[in-house]
């Protein structure tokens, strides 16, 4: 198990969300999109110049920016 930030995840790998360091309303919105503690998140790809990030989470696909991805701690298998 290895801890890192979602923004540092390699494309095509999956991790589990450990914590989200955003204010309550915003992390609430991310939770509604499927990004919450314990959720499994796969980084599908990054757009040109590394932002935004294309994520696959809970059966749907969501894009977020690198700024927010830096505030999401995750744990990967390797």
């Amino acid at each position: 198990m290895k801890a890192t930030l979602l923004s540092n995840l390699a494309s095509g790998t999956t991790g589990t969300v450990e914590s989200i360091d955003l204010d309550a309303r915003l992390s609430g919105r991310f939770a509604a999109l499927g990004i919450h503690d314990g959720a499994s998140v796969r980084l599908v790809r990054r757009a040109l110049f590394g932002c935004p990030l294309h994520l696959r989470v809970g059966g749907s696909e969501v894009a977020i920016r690198r700024t927010e991805a830096r505030r999401i701690s995750i744990r990967t298998a390797r």
Partner: protein, 638 residues
């Protein structure tokens, strides 16, 4: 004996859950847009099929009852009765293929205790992708009716209509729901427990979507495809719509002739033929283009490509202080700035939203299209480059690109002028690709075209009537009530018409502003057109049609294009040089000539200073850019 039906049924659910296709099924698309005084709201309402006393309301999509953006606020307010009566029934719509995610939201709504029915869409897709759902058991767990539907094909809709007759079952009284005060984590835990027994999510993402995205979202390839899509978009508008438009044009001319032939010479004939038919007809001929534009936007949204475009362009939008969703609002502004500005409600960050609103009118709306197509058809050569690309289409593309780039640059300046503060995050859902249904695409096109026709019937007709009076009075060379004599004097007719237009009230007005627009290459006739076009841009086409009809005489049946090309100054040089045409095109790229847009900016920002600001900066921009264009074109020999 049927129980009383609910009189107000609200559709709520996350974006892309399929609310609108359910709405279309329930109402047969008899929609009406509601406007609630005092609140900045309008969403779609329609009568329930076969029940004139029941209203179905299609609300903006929301992920949670804790609204972050103004459009979500509309939904939350409606649900709590903030727009008057609270709905008698909430139809909670969720995509069955992503139920893991939407279940906590369903719990949130049911916990409010409001009468509800849960509608699960995409049941067919769930099965196709090896998912499973036990609707009967889910119903027992939730305590309210659960109906599975395939919205676009209408499967399950009869079942839903039957449930609407049974109000006794809508209350989630005996289900083990999380309490109203439960936090998000508790709701998620409840949702996971509930779904564990009754639901198996699809094994994997729609494989087709994944394959398509590998190309369309590719960092380099995806952008190339994006550029290609946009180029095609504008080529199609010009090449496909043009012949249809010619047909419309000859129809308008024929109608003018027919009416002119029946009526005796005089004010009534002049009013109907030169004023109403030439004026409104000159604008109505652009319906094919506008319909085509709306059709392509509906296809881009319906297939799911619009969200990909927002993803690809978010970085660029970020540089100027906007975000991917601003792009969607700006792209809608290609149809009309009014829905575009309203679409800016989906942008949660207040400063990004304001900047989006203030630059949206720079996007090339369909009202500019009549002006562009007229001037391009008249003055840009109909040749091709590289064998296939039509020069007229390329000029149109350049005008669109110019408008879009200036919007981005303006946004960067506006954001720079704002104070920094808390930023809201960007998030964007990428829905699976779907083949849009004919019905949903048609309804988008229909609503837009009818909106345009309504404008042609009100604002444009009104402007045309006022203009006819301004152009025909005071009467020259005849008694005011003996207009018939004017036309009867055969020999002196042409010069008399010229005098009539130039000495009329409108002509005087045009001459008054001539010094201000003369540096741009415009004469007093264009001046009248510009003044008139501040009501709505496309009015300039009808205005020029009227001016030339008044000048050219009633028997004149050549199209406006030929009349513009043939018009000369007293010294014999053409009024419309290429430099003048380019200058006018550029003026229309920038100027905010639209009363409806100013009104919606005021309404959405709730401050008069914003429409005033937008109008002023765009007028200054238009004048300077036109001046530069005219001078450069003259120097280059245009």
């Amino acid at each position: 004996m049927t129980a009383p039906r609910p009189s107000r049924i609200a559709l709520i659910g996350s974006p892309n859950s399929g609310k609108t296709s359910i709405f279309n099924q329930l109402t047969g698309m008899r929609r009406r847009v509601a406007n609630y005084p005092g609140v900045t709201v309008d969403f779609v309402e329609g009568e329930l099929r076969g029940a004139s006393d029941a209203v179905v309301v299609d609300l903006p999509g929301t992920y949670s009852l804790d609204a972050l953006s103004p459009d979500e606020d509309v939904t939350v307010t409606e649900l709590s009765g903030g727009h008057g009566a609270a709905p008698d029934l909430a139809l909670v719509v969720a995509d069955a293929t992503t139920l893991d995610r939407s279940m906590p939201f369903i719990a949130e709504v049911l916990a409010t205790g409001r009468p509800s029915i849960v509608v699960l869409t995409m049941i067919d897709e769930l099965k196709a992708r090896y998912g499973r759902l036990d609707i009967g058991r889910l119903h027992r767990r939730l305590g309210v009716p659960v109906v599975g539907v395939v919205g676009n094909r209408g499967l399950g809709v009869d079942d839903l209509l039957a449930q609407l007759e049974d109000p006794g079952k809508w209350h989630p009284s005996w289900a083990e729901l999380p309490e109203a005060g439960a936090d998000a984590a508790e709701r998620r835990a409840w949702a996971a427990r509930t779904l564990d027994e009754v639901y198996k999510a699809p094994r994997e993402m729609d494989p087709r979507t994944r394959r398509i995205d590998r190309v369309l979202l590719h960092p380099v390839l995806g952008l190339l495809v994006f550029a290609l899509v946009m180029t095609l978009f504008f080529q199609i508008i010009f090449t496909v719509a043009a012949p249809v438009q010619d047909l419309f044009e000859s129809g308008v001319l024929a109608l003018g002739e027919a009416v002119g032939g029946i009526l005796p010479d005089g004010h009534l004939r002049s009013f109907l033929v030169d004023g109403v038919i030439a004026g409104v007809g000159g604008v109505v001929v652009f319906v094919p283009q506008i319909a085509l534009l709306l059709l392509m936007i509906a296809l881009l949204e319906g297939t799911g490509y619009m969200a990909r475009a927002a993803f690809l362009i978010d970085r660029v939008m970020g540089w100027v202080g906007l975000e991917g969703r601003s792009f969607v609002a700006l792209l809608s502004s290609y149809a009309c700035a009014v829905p575009g500005i309203m679409a800016a409600r989906t942008v949660p960050d207040p400063r990004s939203r304001l900047a989006t609103i203030l630059v949206a009118p720079l996007m090339t709306c369909s009202a500019r299209l009549p002006v562009y197509t007229l001037l391009i058809a008249a003055f840009i050569p109909r040749s091709t480059v590289l064998g296939v690309l039509n020069v007229q289409g390329l000029v149109l593309l350049a005008l669109y690109v110019g408008g879009s780039l200036s919007a981005l640059i303006a946004a960067a300046f506006i954001r720079r002028g704002m104070r920094r503060g808390r930023t809201f995050p960007f998030y964007l859902e990428l829905p699976p690709y779907r083949v849009p249904t004919l019905r949903s695409v048609w309804s988008r096109v229909q609503v837009g075209v009818f909106g345009f026709m309504k404008k042609a019937g009100t604002v444009i007709l009104g402007s045309m009537v006022v203009l006819w009076f301004l152009l025909n009075f005071p009467q020259q060379g005849a008694e005011p009530d003996a207009g018939a004599e004017v036309a009867a004097q055969d020999g002196a007719q042409a010069s008399q018409r010229e005098t009539q237009a130039s000495l009329s009230y409108a002509g005087q007005l045009g001459r008054t502003i001539e010094p201000a627009i003369e540096p741009l290459g415009f004469d007093w006739k264009i001046g009248i057109g510009l003044i008139a076009s501040f009501a709505a841009r496309e009015v300039i086409v009808g205005t020029l049609a009227q001016i030339y009809a008044v000048e050219g005489g009633d028997e004149d049946t050549e199209g406006l294009v030929e009349q513009l090309r043939a018009d000369t100054r007293p010294d014999g040089t053409p009024v419309w040089s290429l430099a003048t045409a380019l200058s006018l095109l550029v003026f229309f790229v920038f100027a905010l000539q639209c009363v409806s847009t100013l009104a919606i900016i005021w309404k959405e920002t709730r401050a008069l200073r914003w429409p005033v600001f937008a109008f002023s900066y765009m007028l200054a921009l238009a004048w300077l850019a036109s001046f530069a264009t005219y001078r450069i074109a003259l120097a280059a020999g245009g």
